[in-house]
């Protein structure tokens, strides 16, 4: 729990995005000729109403999704890596759909058991896989590695901010929102999750703006093995 204390403290200071990275050991770094299959980022942004409800903002979500995708593209361009895009909602059935759903289950498990509870069977190395059935994804859509990105964010509305001021005056603390992003890289030959990163973004890396998304992605991808 100490980790969260640090993160909370960090968020209250102006500009710091914190990341917690997991790297599988004994992996080959992706060769410069590797092709990346970039899944369309799963982004859901909401506004926090005055009353504390999260209200989905379709425009922000789409904006941020496009900003993050663009930031990923420029990062990969910078490394000279080839890539292609895949919208997971176009994969509805068959083995590829099962693989994407399995990836969700593995990702959730990593979050619970590498960032929260401890599994004695996963204490030593970071060792998670989708199994080598992932070859099906690589064969169908082309790619040596798959990059998954999920982002969630909530932002206080103006009235919410007014409420926060009032709340502070009466000594009550209420949720203020934040941005978090999870990124993972999967080897499409073996199925291993070679890199996993959970990032809490500071307000100045606001993914609703292209610059904010660039800043956030730069931090996130710093530790990526490519």
């Amino acid at each position: 729990m100490r980790r969260w204390g640090i993160i909370a403290a960090c968020l209250s200071i102006a500009a710091c995005t914190t990341t917690q990275v997991k790297l599988a050991d004994s992996i080959e770094r992706p060769a410069p000729t590797s092709r990346m299959l970039v899944l369309q980022p799963d982004v859901q942004l909401s506004i926090i109403t005055a009353g504390g409800l999260l209200e989905a903002r379709a425009d922000w979500s789409t904006q941020a999704r496009d900003n993050i995708a663009a930031a990923v593209r420029s990062a990969l361009d910078g490394k000279g890596l080839k890539y292609s895009a895949l919208d997971p909602s176009s994969v509805e059935s068959g083995r590829n759909a099962q693989l994407l759903r399995l990836n969700n289950a593995v990702g959730q498990s990593i979050l619970i058991y590498n960032y929260g509870l401890v599994l004695p069977t996963h204490k030593a190395a970071f060792n998670w896989t989708l199994g080598d059935g992932v070859k099906s994804l690589g064969d169908t859509y082309g790619g040596d590695y798959a990059l998954f990105i999920n982002a969630r964010g909530s932002y206080s509305s103006d009235t919410r901010k007014a409420v926060m001021v009032i709340a502070t005056l009466v000594g009550v603390s209420i949720p203020t929102g934040g941005q978090s992003l999870v990124a993972s890289l999967v080897d499409l030959k073996t199925g291993r999750i070679v890199w996993f990163n959970v990032a809490q973004a500071s307000p100045d890396a606001d993914m609703r703006s292209p610059e904010g998304a660039q800043k956030l992605l730069a931090e996130v991808l710093k530790s990526a093995p490519f």
Partner: protein, 413 residues
């Protein structure tokens, strides 16, 4: 006292936040309408519905049977012809009476609805009711009402907190009020929380009943079907095994907050008075459901409310069709309930099933087991043998063979 008054005023101001008026006012939405502004709350609701629909398409609950889905869609199109091209209908394998239409035109019809409707007219009324919620944009109003309540609750919480500054009496309460508010208030962004904007007001439910009735009769269906289907839900619930369920007022769906009993039922009965009979579509309906009836009953039995399942089965039996399947599942109710005297009731039900042409093959397996329990060896052997003859690839064949061997030994043959 002055700081308190200022704060209270600010907080009350919060509660009175104006809601933006929907561009449509109270009129029905025209076909092919998309909300123009993804930044609006309607846009957010639409987007959330899109995401919920994607989830429904992937869901383990989805019933992908094309014939069944096409049939239910055809009934929807009869009562909602102007939206027929806009809506996408999904049958979900869930053993509860429920149907919902999301603001983006995606419809869920749960199989518990299909089990309980007695004819096509009743299904048509349910779909017409849901279409009316959709047509009158009730979801967006429900979402705004929820927001207002949340703002109001926040305001009250803050007033109480401010009170704490001066009075101290509410000190502990204010903090917990606010945190329980966060817990209670539904995250209306997406997925399971889509349910949050299906909590309609009493007026909206009455409107949907009325709209459903109008669509029902306009499509030539029997006007009595509307009150009939709601009344049967009330009666089913009155037969529940559980006292709490019996004492809870019956409702029209999982998210419906408003009782069917009383004014809703009276209104629909009144509306039907003096109107001539219309199409019930009973045989058409039963033919569409028949291939799924056993699966629907098996799912309903998983709820383990035998009183309700028996009620549903008995109402269907009264119509005369599907006696084999229905009596078999009657037997299953008694077998699973395992109350005093249930073994005899189960036996009678399976025996009734066995006389009907559509009896499931498992009928004879259950008969064999019961006869065996009662030491009626000859009858048991005959029943088991019939089962194996009718189901040569039964996965428990080796168990039945073992039972037959045992029975032969006990008979001394």
């Amino acid at each position: 006292m002055r700081p308190f008054r200022k704060l209270a005023a600010a907080a009350i101001g919060l509660a009175l936040l104006p809601t933006s008026v929907s561009a449509l006012g109270g009129q029905a939405r025209p076909p092919h309408l998309r909300p123009p502004d993804p930044g609006s709350d309607e846009g957010g609701l639409w987007d959330a519905s899109d995401k919920a629909e994607q989830k429904a398409r992937a869901s383990g609950d989805l019933d992908a049977d094309p014939v069944l889905n096409a049939y239910v869609k055809s009934v929807e199109c009869k009562v909602a012809s102007e939206y027929c091209e806009d809506v996408r209908l999904y049958v979900m394998d869930r053993p509860f009476f429920n149907a919902e239409t999301a603001p983006n035109g995606y419809i869920e019809v749960w199989t518990g609805t299909l089990l309980r409707a007695r004819n096509e007219a009743e299904l048509a009324f349910v779909l017409g009711h849901e279409t009316t919620h959709f047509a009158l944009n009730h979801s967006i109003q429900a979402e705004r009402d929820l927001k207002n309540r949340a703002n109001g609750a926040m305001a009250i919480g803050l007033i109480l907190s401010a009170g704490a500054m001066v009075g101290g009496a509410y000190a502990g309460m204010s903090a917990s009020q606010i945190s329980s508010m966060d817990a209670d208030l539904v995250n209306i962004s997406y997925l399971g929380a889509v349910a949050g904007f299906f909590h309609f007001s009493r007026e909206q439910e009455m409107e949907a009943d009325r709209g459903g009735f109008d669509r029902l009769t306009a499509a030539g269906y029997d006007p009595a079907a509307a009150a009939d289907v709601w009344r049967r839900l009330i009666d089913e619930q009155a037969h529940s095994d559980f006292e709490k369920v019996r004492r809870t007022p019956a409702r029209a769906g999982i998210f419906d907050d408003h009782p069917l009993e009383g004014e809703r039922l009276a209104t629909l009965s009144e509306l039907a008075k003096g109107k001539g009979p219309g199409d019930l579509g009973r045989e058409r309906y039963r033919a569409a459901i028949r291939p799924h009836l056993a699966a629907l009953l098996r799912d309903d039995l998983r709820r383990r409310d035998y009183g309700e399942t028996l009620f549903t089965i008995d109402r269907l039996l009264a119509d005369g069709d599907d006696a084999g399947v229905l009596n078999y599942f009657r037997g299953e109710c008694f077998r699973l309930r395992r109350g005093d005297g249930d073994a005899a009731l189960a036996l009678a039900a399976y025996e009734a099933a066995a006389t009907a042409a559509d009896a499931p093959v498992e009928t004879w397996e259950q008969l064999g087991a019961l006869y065996q329990q009662q030491h009626q060896a000859a009858k048991a052997r005959a029943a088991y043998q019939t089962y194996l003859d009718r189901a040569p690839n039964a996965q428990d064949r080796w168990l039945i063979d073992g039972a037959l061997k045992k029975l032969a030994q006990s008979e001394g043959t």
